[in-house]
């Protein structure tokens, strides 16, 4: 994957985007994956909840929220997924590989907050 891809395209000068249409987070932003334990179907693994990372890219186009789709609700719930980079040492304090090693995961917008 190249570094220059999946950037949100700039809007035309007077075009107003719909709510949820533009990405809330930008490449390079520091984020935290929320530490929630909802009841039902979810796609954010436990080992990453509450961990800090950086937005590596915005995944275009917007996608369905898998957690809603799991119950057949798949209309109007499209938001962005983000490819988030998290250092292995952030996830595993005793990690023994290179300190540069990292994890990448796609996280739906509703599971992120600014760091």
């Amino acid at each position: 994957m190249q570094d220059n891809i999946a950037e949100t395209k700039p809007l035309a000068p007077k075009a107003v985007p719909a709510l949820g249409e533009t990405a809330v987070y930008a490449k390079g932003e520091a984020v935290r994956i929320l530490d929630r334990t909802p009841i039902g179907h979810y796609r954010v693994p436990l080992y990453l909840r509450g961990k800090h990372g950086v937005i590596e890219s915005v995944i275009e186009p917007t996608g369905l929220n898998n957690e809603e789709e799991g119950y057949g609700r798949n209309a109007g719930s499209k938001l962005h997924y983000y490819r988030v980079a998290i250092p292995m040492t952030e996830i595993w304090p005793g990690y023994t590989g290179s300190p540069r090693d990292g994890l990448r995961i796609e996280i739906f917008e509703t599971w992120l907050e600014r760091n």
């Binding site: 190249q2 796609r43 693994p45 292995m88 595993w92 990292g102 995961i105 739906f108």
Partner: protein, 218 residues
């Protein structure tokens, strides 16, 4: 081995153990059967659709992914398009994405080694690689690939130097990943068919590196 009880007494190396279901179906076996029969009886789909989808899955094998990798190695413009939009580039080669997933292709370089896993279950780039190997779906690989990837790689015989960054991509939602392995040295004269022949499934998961001396079995 003599097998007189099976009506002959010559030595040979196959087992006469019956292949059969000897245990009662488990909870999830029953659940799958009941849900499938319910969906069929309600008319959501029928036996023909089930058969067709099995045929779709059976038609997808690592040979497709190998064709993609070989093209990327041989054609730099294609390689760029593949890294830019994995799904669109695969579609150029006639590979359809029947499951509505996206595809991000991760390029291995001298500085980065990519490995893919699905810690939640078994997300896998099925449109280009077919069904995942059993070990990919089992908990030891799923847990260890994200916590001690270098040890997992070493068990596959892959030693990654410490100055090479390991990037583990955990696929859990809409996007699937495919590793574009490094083109091995000594393949400068290979054509695309020869290149595709050395691209194994495991190189595209990232657990091993491509080698000019390995051939993918078909």
């Amino acid at each position: 081995m003599a097998h007189e009880e099976n009506g002959h007494d010559h030595d040979h190396d196959h087992s006469h153990a019956e292949i059969g279901q000897t245990e009662r179906p488990g909870y999830y076996d029953n659940l799958e059967t009941v849900v499938r029969e319910l969906l069929v009886s309600k008319g959501y789909f029928g036996p023909d659709e089930i058969r067709r989808q099995i045929e779709v899955l059976d038609s997808r094998t690592p040979a497709l992914g190998a064709m993609v990798v070989a093209r990327a190695w041989a054609d730099d413009a294609f390689r760029k398009r593949l890294l830019d939009d994995g799904r669109a580039a695969c579609e150029e080669l006639g590979i359809t994405f029947y499951d509505q997933t996206g595809l991000i292709v991760l390029e291995n370089t001298d500085k980065v080694h990519n490995l893919i896993v699905c810690t939640l279950c078994s997300c896998y780039p099925r449109p280009v690689l077919g069904l995942p190997p059993d070990w990919y779906k089992l908990k030891p690989y799923r847990a260890r690939a994200v916590s001690e990837p270098r040890k997992v790689l070493a068990e596959f015989g892959t030693i990654i130097p410490d100055d090479v960054e390991i990037r583990v991509s955990d696929s859990t939602a809409m996007v699937r990943f495919l590793v574009l392995p490094k083109r091995p040295e000594g393949t400068e004269d290979f054509d695309e068919v020869q290149l595709a022949a050395i691209v194994t499934r495991d190189t595209m998961i990232g657990v091993v590196e491509a080698s000019k001396d390995i051939r993918r079995g078909e």
